[in-house]
């Protein structure tokens, strides 16, 4: 009885819509690709191998969006951390030390964002965009805009090893573990509930004994950490820290979160839907590559998809807003 209720809750109307959308995307690309090469194991492997990056960026920005905030520096932060990580390894630092140091750098950038937003009182949009610009500049400065090779065997193993007939990359396991962890954290713990309550009404949450500033700090630092990890794993996968890094995947992360039902207004959306949203995005981006669409047009397509997600979110908010803002 209880599990049936849980099942129903999980597969609500929105989930069904998302699954249908996923099936449509997969079917369309399968039909359009030559000999159905889209569904070929080699291509599925391709989709899976990069999914960890979008997953982490989606989780980073998703948690913040639920709390009614936003971080536009995830891509730049991750890219900077990726190249710094590669530089540290190149300089002879042991990989565990380099890993922890880089994660700390990402977290420090997150803490800086949190300070700008919570203490100084800047708009999160502008503040994190400025920080993104700083991080982007530093990325170029770090090694004169030249990529840094990553040769550490442990790191490249994490980035490239695949289990089960080459189908299950180590990085995908990391992505799935991360998704399960954040789904439980946000859905079943005091912390997660507090994030939703703050996103729903920050002042009411504060007057009920929740600390919005504390939680906002945790979420921005978390966002910085996940961005850094995304950058590190991309460097591990490409065996190189590059200056473009994960920048372009930031919008995929936001699009996935919004497709999955996380609203810009805050306070709503669950990671079950977001996971499917992320599958859709990854399937979509890869599909365009398989069809041979130029990367310039792919950028256009990603923008259109984000606009689509924004529109859906806007219409939802407007429907809700109409019922709330007019007071009788």
């Amino acid at each position: 009885m209880e599990s049936a209720k849980g099942f129903k809750k999980f597969f609500n109307e929105k989930m069904v819509t998302l699954l249908v959308l996923l099936v449509i995307v997969v079917a369309a690309f399968t039909v359009l690709s030559k000999n159905g090469s889209y569904l070929h194991p080699a291509n599925i492997r391709n989709i899976f191998s990069l999914m960890v990056v979008t997953s982490l960026l989606t989780l980073a920005v998703g948690c913040l969006m639920i709390s009614g905030n936003i971080d536009l520096s995830t891509g730049a932060n991750g890219t900077l951390c990726g190249i710094l990580f590669a530089l540290l390894l190149q300089g002879g630092v042991a990989w565990p030390v380099a890993l922890i140091a880089t994660l700390l750098i990402g977290m420090a950038i997150g803490a800086f964002n949190a300070t700008l937003v919570n203490i100084v009182g800047f708009q999160p949009f502008i503040a994190t965009m400025a920080v993104a610009s700083v991080a982007k500049g530093l990325t170029y400065v770090a090694n004169n805009a030249v990529a840094v090779p990553v040769k550490d065997p442990v790191i490249t193993w994490i980035g490239t090893e695949r289990f089960f007939n080459n189908l299950l990359p180590v990085t995908l396991i990391i992505a799935i573990v991360a998704f399960v962890f954040y789904t439980v954290l946000m859905g079943a713990t005091e912390f997660g509930r507090s994030v939703y309550l703050i996103g729903g009404n920050r002042e009411a949450a504060r007057l009920s004994g929740i600390h919005p500033v504390k939680i906002s700090y945790i979420l921005f630092i978390n966002s910085g950490m996940l961005s850094a990890l995304a950058g590190i794993l991309l460097a591990a996968r490409l065996k190189s820290g590059t200056v473009t890094g994960v920048v372009n995947m930031q919008f995929s992360g936001m699009t996935a979160a919004m497709l999955g039902g996380v609203s810009f207004g805050g306070g709503s959306g669950g990671f079950g839907g977001v996971f499917i949203g992320m599958l859709i995005i990854n399937g979509f981006n890869n599909g365009l590559t398989v069809l041979g669409v130029s990367s310039y047009w792919q950028t256009v397509a990603s923008g259109v998809l984000l606009l689509f997600a924004l529109t859906v979110d806007y219409l939802n908010m407007k429907r809700r807003g109409k019922r709330v803002s007019k007071r009788g």
């Binding site: 439980v184 079943a188 713990t189 005091e190 509930r193 507090s194 939703y196 309550l197 729903g200 009404n201 002042e203 009411a204 949450a205 504060r206 007057l207 009920s208 004994g209 929740i210 600390h211 306070g267 709503s268 809700r320 019922r323 709330v324 007019k326 007071r327 009788g328």
Partner: protein
């Protein structure tokens, strides 16, 4: 042609409430019609429909025989309907003249706004109304009363046929009210249709010609002002004698030792505020809007910073930095604005009830949903909250039930509330639920909780409280027991300058 405004069969429903049902009446030019009713009777909703802010579900409004169909407030303004709300709709940094002529200022050579001409035209209007306002002064520097005058001139200048006032005298002093009434008489002589919304009966008799009484969204009485009296109006508004509501209360008579002692409390709004609250006592805070009552509540609760003074709970000095500290010490606040500060509207009844006790409903690392459900179901039963399940989104409940959700939050078995601060707990809820809330407040006192009861409704505050503290301009201007208090005394202190 004589002006005429007519409402026909107006209906409006919100989730959980039928705000207006079958409203029919008409007003002619040169007449002042009072729209009277308790909070939540539907007056504001009707004004909002008339001003294009809300759309009626059914029915029509006709002005001078033409059917009005507004999709925005701008449409209504263009059609000749101006509503003057309590919240000013002026730009504080711009001058009086610029506010009176917004958007379409007279233009001089080169298409630039001709400052002098603008000022002269504004001055003409100001003279016409016999006021002493400098047209070049920024509106933000004027008193509330003069800001209201500016708004009236703005409506007059637009040549509106209909001018509606929503509780215009709430923030005004007696002298200012006299000026306002003089203005209204001038508008009346000019043949305008005037709607006047107010709770204050004495004003109704001074300034209006006709009265329409709303109760729970229905039109319950329509009469000529000259042919009725206060008692009749009160009966129509309340549906019964007010006295009964309070006489029937089961009060607490066991008032114990001092629970809260506030001395010389100062914030950026408050000046030298002192009072005490005892176990089982209800201390009422009366005063006009902006008197500083909410600020007292927020300062005690740790929501706003305190600059000096002392707060003692059970004899121990405290200084809460955050609401969390206050809650841990047994202080609870039901804020004035339920929707903005009290509730997370899109979350369930359960989520709203368990907000402050999340740390106490855990099993291991996770929230215990069963415990949350039990606590919420208990609250739903205790307060007879009308909701089908605890999973219902709070937004879909009526105002009274939303208020009960907040009360349930602070009185659940996991809370140890000693001091309960209720800021305007009956605002916007219907008369029947009000009586329930009064009994709840008495019951809280009966359980030994000290209750701070802030209300702008004089009758309520005077009849519920054991002790009444009156505030004006951030200061305490008087304190008395229920036996000593009368509405007149409290009002005099509340308006003291």
């Amino acid at each position: 042609m004589e002006r005429c405004l007519e409402f026909k069969g107006i209906e409006k429903a919100f989730p959980g409430v039928r705000a207006l049902q079958d409203i029919n009446f008409r007003v002619k030019g040169g007449r002042v019609l009072a729209l009277l009713g308790e909070n939540g009777a539907g007056k504001s909703t009707l004004l909002k429909i008339m001003s294009g802010d809300l759309r009626a579900d059914a029915g029509t409004i006709t002005l001078n025989g033409r059917e009005m169909n507004f999709s925005s407030p701008n449409d209504a303004i263009r059609a000749g309907i101006s509503v003057i709300y309590q919240e000013r709709q002026l730009v504080p940094a711009m001058s009086v003249a610029e506010n009176i002529f917004p958007g379409i200022p007279p233009r001089g050579a080169l298409g630039l706004v001709a400052g002098k001409q603008l000022k002269r035209q504004a001055q003409e209007l100001i003279d016409k109304f016999g006021l002493s306002i400098d047209p070049a002064a920024p509106v933000g520097t004027l008193s509330v009363a003069y800001q209201q005058m500016v708004e009236i001139m703005k409506a007059y200048r637009r040549d509106s046929d209909v001018i509606a006032f929503d509780e215009p005298t709430a923030p005004l002093t007696d002298a200012e009210i006299a000026i306002l009434f003089d203005l209204i008489r001038r508008l009346k002589e000019a043949g305008k249709i005037i709607l006047y919304v107010s709770h204050r009966l004495s004003e109704i008799f001074q300034v209006t010609d006709e009265i329409v009484v709303l109760k729970d969204g229905r039109l319950v009485a329509e009469m000529k002002t000259s042919e009725t009296g206060e008692q009749e109006l009160i009966r129509a508004m309340v549906g019964r004698d007010i006295g009964d509501t309070y006489a029937g209360l089961n009060r607490n008579d066991k008032i114990g030792e001092v629970l809260l002692e506030v001395s010389h409390l100062e914030t950026d709004v408050l000046r030298d505020v002192s009072f005490t609250l005892r176990r089982g006592e209800i201390v009422g805070f009366a005063g006009l809007v902006g008197a500083g009552r909410t600020e007292v509540a927020r300062a005690i609760f740790g929501a706003d910073p305190v600059s000096s003074g002392e707060i003692k709970i059970e004899g121990k000095p405290v200084r809460f930095k955050t609401p969390k500290d206050a809650i841990d010490a047994g202080v609870a606040l039901c804020p004035e604005d339920r929707k903005e500060q009290g509730l997370v509207l899109f979350r369930s009844v359960r989520d709203n009830v368990t907000m402050p006790i999340l740390a106490k409903v855990k099993r291991g690392l996770f929230l215990d949903n069963h415990a949350e459900d039990e606590i919420t179901i208990d609250a739903v039963k205790r307060y007879a909250i009308k909701t089908p399940t605890v999973d219902k989104i709070v937004m879909e409940l009526s105002g009274g039930n939303q208020q009960k959700v907040i009360l349930g939050r602070w009185t659940s078995s996991k809370m140890t509330t000693k001091i309960l601060i209720l800021d305007e707990p009956t605002k916007g809820i219907d008369v029947g639920t009000k009586a329930e809330v009064y009994q709840m407040v008495c019951d809280f006192a009966g359980q030994g909780i000290g209750v701070i009861f802030i209300s702008s409704e004089l009758t309520e505050v005077v009849n519920i409280s054991d002790t009444i503290v009156v505030m004006h301009g951030g200061r305490v201007t008087g304190q008395m027991t229920r036996q000593e208090a009368t509405e007149e005394k409290v009002l005099a202190l509340a308006m003291l300058d």
